[in-house]
């Protein structure tokens, strides 16, 4: 404690102390790492923006022309992208684009062309996630009266699309802010593969070597960045829809019509289950080192791994553990996220802090507090997993509170509980739940990231993240050993996203329609207000 005090006092004089390991000044090193990481994050965000634009372009195009009903289910590609593990994309890009094709440098950080591959690896999944969330909200915006009125008045489609974006982006801003911080401090795997001397690697190494001054300075930099990003996100939201928020003149972002139930989720589910069932009939632990890294064949449909184990069997046997844990953690994160998201004053600073702590560091801390019991890895992931959901809830809630129909309900004498149960939660829960489902594969992978600390899954357990990690070095020699578990994970992502919008029971459908009608009447009272 006195150490911490002395360090803080030194910090006030601009002296971040000296590393316990190297004896070097901490300040310059951390600043350089921060600069590098910020640049990487900025380029990754650009990639993410392009990805998100590509994902939402169809909805924007159709929506601004009031032809949304032509929009199919969609979302499969984005769910696959969002489920892509960064380290896998990174090693594939480095091996294929960097080494084999030689188009871009495979490692280092010496100029603009060095930024492309790492930014792609980081930006694609982030962009897919954000794009998917945006795509989820856009139909609601296009269903608002102003859009209808604008179209009727002959306002160009492009302007309508732009305004729809402006309407939806504020709900995403807190999450973009979270990505800013997460990509700066949490890009350890990508920094490792591309040999980038960024902040994530520096802090992780310091945490492992118990080099407190470096760790403190690195974490402080991230916390400050998180605070700044959070403030900026709030400011931007204010700028974009501030007046509407203040005047309580927003519409609820409900989807105009619930997506029709589809059979596709059943198809994906059947493929996934079929694969798993076939795998379950085989032995996931039988080693045959003589038959390592074999190509797919009749005896080994997905080939063998580096120790000659059947990849299909490992995927099948790992499924149960991976899925139950991931689903349980996601559910817990959803509950906590929504509950805390309802209390923005409490959760706002908490979200910023939790997100500023790199996940691995959070794992270390949790292990320190909870010991290395069986529940520790799940706890360590859950500790950080709720933050983006809480941020999303808060952002949506803020808008929902400013909607006219809530004002109307209040006017009719509804108390706070009634508002919460019948107006706010029904509006906020569906998008946040879809968000949680979208993050399901990431949660499954986060468990593996803790493995090397000795608190995650241990080999030879066939947990999916572990499968990916242990086969990653062989990605060039035996691509199938990595691609098969990655495909299973992607399938899980698609399944989660599709079934969120698709498989609905008939009576639930009816309830939703009734609610939509109610909102339509509530909205009608304010149509006359100038937009």
């Amino acid at each position: 404690m006195t150490l911490l005090g002395r360090w803080l006092a030194g910090l006030a004089r601009g002296d971040a102390g000296r590393s316990w390991i190297s004896g070097d000044e901490v300040g310059p090193g951390i600043l350089q790492g921060l600069g590098i990481s910020l640049l990487l994050m900025a380029v990754a965000l650009m990639v993410a923006a392009v990805t998100a634009a590509a994902i939402t372009s169809r909805t924007l195009w159709l929506g601004s022309r009031r032809r949304l009903d032509e929009r199919g289910g969609g979302g499969g590609a984005s769910a696959v992208l969002a489920a892509l593990p960064e380290f896998l994309t990174a090693s594939v890009l480095a091996a294929v684009v960097g080494v084999q094709l030689g188009w871009l440098p495979a490692l280092g950080w010496y100029g603009p062309q060095w930024t492309v591959l790492p930014a792609l690896a980081l930006g694609l999944p982030a962009g897919a996630l954000l794009g998917r969330m945006l795509d989820d909200m856009l139909p609601g915006a296009f269903a608002e009266p102003w859009a209808l009125a604008s179209a009727a008045r002959g306002v160009p489609a492009r302007s309508i699309a732009r305004q729809a974006l402006r309407r939806c982006v504020p709900g995403l801003l807190p999450n973009i802010g979270l990505f800013v911080v997460g990509l700066t401090g949490g890009a350890v795997a990508v920094e490792q593969i591309f040999d980038i001397p960024g902040l994530g690697r520096t802090t992780l190494q310091a945490a492992i070597a118990q080099d407190l001054p470096v760790l403190q300075a690195g974490t402080l930099a991230l916390v400050l960045l998180a605070a700044a990003a959070g403030a900026l996100a709030r400011l931007a939201a204010r700028l974009l829809i501030g007046p509407a928020l203040r005047d309580g003149a927003l519409q609820s972002l409900h989807r105009p019509t619930p997506p029709a139930p589809r059979a596709t989720p059943l198809l994906y589910g059947a493929v996934l289950l079929g694969g798993i069932a076939t795998g379950l009939t085989r032995d996931p632990l039988a080693l045959d080192t003589g038959a390592k890294l074999q190509s797919p064949s009749w005896t080994h449909p997905f080939g063998t791994d580096a120790l000659g184990r059947d990849v299909l069997a490992r995927i099948g046997h790992g499924a149960f553990g991976t899925l139950t844990l991931a689903v349980a953690i996601s559910a817990a994160a959803l509950l906590t996220g929504v509950a805390l998201g309802l209390l923005p004053r409490l959760s706002g600073p908490l979200v910023d802090t939790v997100n500023a702590v790199p996940p691995v560091l959070a794992g270390l801390l949790t292990a320190g507090v909870a010991g290395s019991g069986a529940a520790t890895p799940a706890l360590a992931v859950a500790v950080v997993a709720w933050a983006p959901l809480a941020a999303h809830t808060t952002a949506l809630l803020e808008q929902e509170r400013a909607t006219t129909h809530v004002a109307a309900t209040k006017g009719l004498g509804a108390d706070r509980w009634y508002l919460l149960r019948h107006e706010l939660l029904p509006a906020v829960l569906p998008p946040v739940t879809r968000h949680a489902l979208l993050r399901l594969p990431a949660v499954a992978l986060a468990l593996t990231a803790l493995g090397f600390l000795g608190i995650g899954t241990q080999p030879p357990d066939p947990e999916w993240g572990l499968l990916l990690a242990e086969n990653q070095p062989y990605v060039e020699r035996a691509p199938w050993a990595v691609l098969a578990p990655a495909a299973a994970l992607a399938l899980l992502g698609v399944l989660a996203v599709k079934s969120a919008g698709g498989v609905r029971l008939p009576h639930r459908l009816a309830a939703v329609t009734v609610r939509q009608q109610k909102h339509a009447t509530a909205g009608a009272t304010t149509v006359g207000k100038p937009g």
């Binding site: 309407r167 040999d195 000795g454």
Partner: protein, 507 residues
């Protein structure tokens, strides 16, 4: 309700452009420096680009983990060096004699430090004295007390508290590098080897843990190096290191992981048998393996050929003892271990096997081991962690067994030291927690011998005593794979992993 388009939005791009222009200088500082060293070729020899696995951890202090980094790049030297047979060879000392049991006289050769001053007996004595005062003391001096003083002529007298027949070997350790008086500045524990060492290359710049720049030392006593300098990059990820060589960003990549070896073209792959041995260490103090009969059962269950052939893909030799084939004299002097316990039936005994993942092959070794032990009736649980999070638990005996790789000659070059530190009662790195009277006696006897052949034979006798307890099951003797660009010649493939770049290395 949201307003319909406004004109103010148009001016934003211009503002952005301005911001972009202002940001440019900021951005350039966000890249690592010293990138495009495609090697400025001059008539004077070109620069070598080397990818090393471990970045400097302790400010390049030769007393700690950075010592081998310095000697591998040809920066530092000691009084002696190791030759191919593991005997002491002249380096800064031209020759040496033993005055009596505890005193040695080293005659220095004519050499200069990289800062231009002469290597004098006083400077050498001061350098050695500084090393003895360092805290923590460098590995080669652990448990040894020595004094160094200048003697008449060009000689240095080194006196040890106890008789130390292995002193010339000990002085070859990279931790006992000789630096000029300038290096030992304000901080006692952290001498600065930048421009103060004696080797063929001189460090001119270090960029944190990313890279280091070295220039040729034109006054090197062993002749001018052929390469005009070295650009070293520290790339900890094995795949990234290999990729650096494959894309031509570096000329030499050290420690290519086995998983990446197949990706290298034939002509660029060089394997060297090393003195590094991967073994299974059984906890003789606590738990199931306290019982010698179960240890014996574990040894019999292990089939070492699988590890060398399949897990290491042929880049290793099956384990035969603590010292492998890279220790050239060991095979002829090997003694068959005697007094091994008769194997008992494992009968479902459950054991925990721990290993670390800093060396990617070890978790694979552990999984194969698990299968072999389970076939023999053990129940095996694996514990894989990062090394720094494992060491203290392993040393305190929390696991039944430990799989680790250990360089058997690195610190001192003396075969007896490692037996003493790893397998004797008061050994500092005794992962098997072995405390056996016979072993201690054999090690103490070996420590007293000065004749190198006799000492080696005694070391092998001690090895047999250790293997007789079944505390250690040698699995493989590793080969190190060095990736070398096709145009590069004269790389030193050192079984002791102490040297890499020398005067004859060129591109």
């Amino acid at each position: 309700m949201t307003p319909i388009p406004t004109r103010t939005m148009r001016s934003v791009p211009r503002r952005r452009l301005l911001a972009g222009l202002l940001l440019t200088p900021v951005l350039t500082s966000c890249f690592a420096s010293g990138g495009d060293t495609s090697g400025e070729d001059s008539a004077d020899g070109s620069r070598l680009r080397v990818a090393l696995a471990f970045p400097p951890a302790e400010n390049l202090s030769p007393y700690g983990a950075d010592a081998t980094l310095l000697s591998r790049l040809g920066v530092t030297e000691g009084l002696t060096a190791l030759d191919a047979n593991g005997s002491a060879a002249p380096a800064l000392a031209e020759s040496w004699t033993r005055e009596n049991d505890r005193t040695w006289l080293f005659t220095l050769r004519e050499a200069t430090f990289q800062d231009g001053t002469a290597v004098t007996p006083a400077a050498v004595a001061a350098a050695l004295t500084h090393a003895t005062e360092a805290k923590p003391v460098t590995a080669a001096l652990s448990g040894v007390a020595l004094k160094a003083a200048k003697a008449d002529g060009n000689r240095v007298r080194v006196t040890t508290e106890d008789a130390d027949p292995a002193l010339p070997l000990r002085l070859s350790s990279p931790g006992l590098a000789v630096l000029s008086p300038k290096a030992y500045g304000k901080e006692r524990n952290k001498p600065n080897p930048v421009g103060t060492a004696t080797g063929p290359f001189e460090i001119t710049k270090v960029s944190g843990t990313t890279s280091a720049t070295l220039d040729r030392n034109d006054d090197y006593w062993g002749g001018r190096a052929q390469a005009s300098g070295v650009d070293a990059r520290f790339i900890s990820d094995g795949t990234a290191r290999t990729n650096a060589l494959r894309t031509g960003q570096v000329d030499i990549a050290e420690a290519v992981p086995v998983s990446q070896a197949a990706a290298l073209e034939k002509g660029t792959r060089h394997e060297t048998a090393t003195t590094r041995t991967t073994s299974l260490l059984l906890n003789t103090d606590k738990g199931a393996f306290k019982d010698p009969a179960l240890r014996s059962a574990a040894r019999e269950a292990v089939d070492t050929s699988v590890f060398a052939k399949d897990v290491y893909e042929g880049y290793a030799d099956p384990g035969v003892g603590v010292f492998g084939p890279a220790v050239t004299w060991a095979a002829d002097k090997r003694v068959k271990p005697a007094g091994r316990a008769k194997a008992a039936d494992a009968d479902g005994t459950s054991v925990t096997v721990a290993t670390y993942n800093n060396r990617p092959e070890l978790p694979e070794v552990a999984q194969v081991l698990q299968q072999q032990l389970e076939k023999a009736g053990f129940k095996v649980k694996l514990e894989v962690r990062e090394y720094s999070r494992l060491e203290s638990d392993a040393l305190s005996g929390k696991f039944d067994a430990f799989v680790g790789a250990r360089n058997s000659l690195l610190d001192t070059g003396d075969p007896v030291s490692i037996l003493a530190s790893d397998y004797s009662c008061d050994g500092s790195y005794n992962l098997a927690l072995l405390c056996d009277k016979k072993v201690d006696k054999a090690v103490t006897e070996a420590e007293a011998l000065s004749d190198s052949a006799k000492r080696q034979q005694a070391a092998m006798d001690a090895e047999a005593a250790i293997l007789g307890t079944d505390a250690v099951v040698p699995l493989v003797h590793q080969q190190i794979i060095t990736g070398v660009g096709t145009s590069v010649q004269g790389v030193i493939f050192d079984p002791y992993e102490r040297t890499l770049v020398g005067t004859g290395t060129r591109r």
